[in-house]
Amino acid sequence: MTISRRVFVQSGGLAMLSLGLDPLFLARAAYGPYRHPTGASDGPVLVCLFMRGAVDGLNLIVPHGDPLYYQERPRIAIPAPDVIDLDGHFGLHPRLAALKPLWDNKSLVAIHAVGSPEATRSHFDAQDYMESGTPGVKATRDGWVNRYCQHDAEHANTPFRAVAFGPQLPRALAGSAPTLAIDDLHAFGLQVPRAAARDRLTRAFEELYAGAETGVLASSGQESFEAIRLLQQANPLQYRPADGVDYPRGHLGRSLMQIAQLIKARVGLRIAYLDATGWDTHVNQGASDGQLAGLLDDLGAALAAFATDLGERLRDVVVLTMSEFGRAVRENGSGGTDHGHATAMLVFGGGVNGGRVAGRWPTLDPAARYEGRDLAVTTDFRDLFGELLVGHLGATNLAAVFPGHSMNPASSPGVLRAT
């Protein structure tokens, strides 16, 4: 079992001590000053943002130096004057302008032509493979984030070690290691309208679980109440982002703000996971403006706000965007793009070897394309994820996280600075 014994023993002991005492005393004992074992030090955090629906990597990181790009996309290519040039060949979509400062200070790297070796064009299968971390193997039950947690003994095991922001646990976090899905930090805990009743219930349930049981129910019960206490300390209702930071409204902005809260609250967060949806642009994708532009606007603004809000703390944080596959090189008859193969991913944060486009560029040459139509994959997503797990989080057992994939440093895209 992967529950932290340290945490369990600590608070379990607290509850035991208080047995038989009057409720007022209990309340004080339970809500008194609390120091989490990991609270003292800042640990590394990996934020994973899944762009569900297969983002068009070619309009995200635009190969504006390639005439084929403009030939193949007469209606939806980003006009050269609009592209935010990065290195003379690639540029950012204009609506990602908010991220340019991160590029300029070398903390943002783009990886192009990244994807899965399993070339399915089904959203479901491709997302499933990217989250199980085992392309081609459908029966894998747990996700790669969960397996990282199962095999990671380095970091203290707090209830907030791996948190998904959304109503349901995504596949990547599913498995036997404890992970959390939180739709809204404000609503975490016992949901009873009146505070007095909530305290009574919290206190009673904590005792019920502490005293009556052993095993996974007891330890998870304890973790639940620890999580509530940790959050009370963090006091999410009182959170104010750093001066001048304005998160965009909506799921993405709100989730990133709550992730920033958790990071600043030092509750032991290691991996945060969130979704952004709507990238399946088959029809009327748009170019500098339009459907995709609107989504990128929100994405850029939310990520930039997050980076600014974290300030110094960004040093310990790496953000990774991912998507299940990319889109066809040539636009379709409806002003959109159909399912393709490789896409582009973004990585930014502390320790990132930024200011460049990483990964081998396969070119848009039809002969170099996958099945003659899609951008070919030159970086296996597991090599990218694996580099971040090892280099940023200090993972030691990648063979367990990505079974069946032999990682070798030569194939890693080198998105982190060598230390």
């Binding site: 009673a204 973790e223 029809v283 139509r373």
Partner: protein, 549 residues
């Protein structure tokens, strides 16, 4: 139904008498005929009071007891009750039959559903276009999409309703088991259309039948063929006969399947039958994939049925796990393989083990697995007899097995609603709570299905949601269900009286002394009987004892 009385009786006589007798003696069966016949009982290994055995059976073969049900089952004799559950076709189920008439979904076929979904999709595209062109405000309502969602939501709602109200509890438990064993992800493409018929026509009629029938039915179901991609699996180099004069678009050509797809072949052996260590190689997977080439669907976009495409089938010779499948055969060789796999010893063991993990313990003891596999071998995979063997094994009734399993979110919610005699309303809100608790119905993406182990279900977030659900139910504010506690619990603020009544008539005697102490203390200052009742009930349903079964 699939079974007649003669056959049932014949196989009943096959059972190993010692176990039957031991269990009957232990469990105080009241059926005089059977008790007399089996009187030569061996010494019981573990004597259980009738109420305890009734509670155990109700927790495992059913979704927990309804008010008074522990006493009722104890009085009739638990083995008699189990026999009834094993013959659901003879159990009247009038309340459920009446409620099922509310479900339009049960009167809608695949093609109609497909039409509905296509219309909704067209609407959606139109709206997206309109929005991009600035002609329509986002968020404008689309009645068609609403209707589609409503019908789709009925599928989840039906699970909850049936589990709560059906008298044929074991049938519902086994439906859940097989749906999970032959998992299909509802949100994958055409499976949005095929899931209802998969549940109603493929799985439900066969949950207590022959395993081979179930296996063949799933293999030929459009739901499974689509989910595991077999519908696109064609012999290497095969292409469909010319389709019309215009030829195919570039997009259609790019989508053209190019060879055998191994997904179904692999999961068929790894998950549905032999098990991952059941003795097959990657080479076998490839051969099985060849053998199922051409098993497809006629126009999935329109909700078409299973079809066998001769043009797509690989008619060459295959060898699978040493068994030769000679050249020249079509769909028949697939059926032949499924029949072989269905009764392979590895399959008997693998599926028996999963059944025992469901009914006995997460890590099932060998004894009950062997008993189940033995019954399988004797009856050619008659699921009813396999279950009977499990329910008559000493391991099922052992001290170690009782209250050893943690409830899944579905089991927790349904058992809580049943415990308070709750009545689900006609909305999908109760099913949405199962989602919030972490088990969205029909929406597990992995073909392995939902796990059976407690580690996967118990974590801090999920546990808090269970407590929230319990408290809301106890206060009568859980959406989607009406609860009338007045006839069930006394109108008093006395915690001891409340706990006594609750534990006795609703929960079957599970409340620990520790819980009693805590509840007594935490309600000592509550004098309003209604508030006290809600608190005590909330603690009992949200506390650790009720998470177990």
């Amino acid at each position: 139904m699939l079974f007649n009385g003669t056959r049932r009786r014949a196989s009943h006589l096959d059972m190993r008498p010692l176990l039957v007798m031991a269990c009957l003696a232990v469990l105080g069966a009241r059926n005089p005929d059977r008790a007399r016949r089996d009187r030569v009982a061996s010494v019981p290994t573990d004597t259980l009071p009738p109420r305890d055995s009734a509670l155990h059976a109700l927790n495992r073969l059913a979704y927990g007891p309804r008010p008074g049900e522990v006493d009722r089952v104890a009085a009739m004799g638990v083995m008699h009750w189990i026999d009834q559950q094993l013959e659901p076709e003879r159990l009247p189920d009038r309340v459920l039959a009446r409620r099922e008439r509310e479900f339009q979904l049960l009167r809608t076929d695949d093609a109609e559903l497909a039409q509905m979904f296509q219309a909704a999709r067209r609407e959606q595209e139109e709206r997206r276009r309109a929005r991009t062109d600035g002609m329509m405000e986002p968020g404008m309502n689309d009645p068609q999409a609403g209707e589609r969602q409503r019908v789709a939501a009925q599928l989840q709602q039906l699970v909850v309703l049936r589990a709560v109200v059906s008298e044929r509890q074991l049938q519902e438990v086994m439906t859940d088991f097989w749906i999970n064993h032959f998992n299909v992800y509802w949100a994958k493409g055409a499976d949005r259309v095929y899931m209802p018929s998969y549940v109603e026509q493929v799985i439900r009629p066969r949950v207590l039948g022959k395993f081979s029938d179930l296996l063949i039915a799933t293999a030929q179901s459009p739901a499974m063929l689509f989910y595991l991609d077999n519908w696109e699996s064609v012999a290497t180099g095969a292409s469909p006969p010319a389709q019309g004069p215009r030829g195919q678009s570039q997009r259609a050509l790019a989508r053209q399947p190019k060879g055998p797809n191994e997904n179904y072949a692999r999961e068929l052996m790894e998950l549905h039958t032999l098990g991952v260590d059941g003795g097959y190689t990657q080479r076998d997977v490839q051969e099985v994939a060849r053998l199922f080439t051409g098993w497809s669907i006629a126009r999935p976009a329109q909700g078409g049925r299973f079809e066998f495409n001769e043009w797509a089938h690989d008619y060459g010779e295959k060898t699978i796990r040493g068994v030769r499948f000679p050249a020249g055969h079509g769909m028949d060789e697939g059926i032949r393989l499924l029949k072989i796999l269905a009764n392979d010893p590895a399959t008997m063991h693998h599926v028996s083990r999963r059944l025992c993990a469901r009914f006995v313990a997460d890590e099932p003891p060998d004894g009950c697995v062997d008993a189940a596999a033995g019954a399988w071998a004797r009856t050619n995979g008659d699921i009813r007899q396999v279950l009977r063997a499990i329910f008559q094994s000493p391991e099922f009734w052992s001290r170690e097995a009782r209250r050893a399993k943690v409830k899944t979110p579905l089991e927790f919610l349904i058992s809580a609603v049943r415990a308070v005699g709750g009545d689900p309303d006609t909305t999908p809100r109760l099913a949405q709570i199962v989602t919030r608790l972490g088990q969205p119905l029909y929406l597990e993406p992995s073909p392995a299905g939902y796990p059976e182990s407690q580690e996967d279900w118990v974590n801090s977030g999920a546990l808090l949601q269970r407590m929230n659900t319990a408290v809301a139910l106890a206060e009568g504010r859980l959406p989607g269900v009406s609860v009338a506690l007045d006839g069930l619990l006394p109108a008093t603020a006395n915690a001891d009286s409340l706990l006594e009544a609750l534990d006795r008539s609703l929960l079957g005697g599970i409340i620990s002394d520790h819980t009693r102490d805590v509840v007594r203390r935490e309600t000592a200052d509550v004098h309003d009987p209604a508030i006290a009742r809600a608190l005590v009930l909330g603690f009992a349903l949200g506390g650790p004892e009720f998470q177990r079964q």
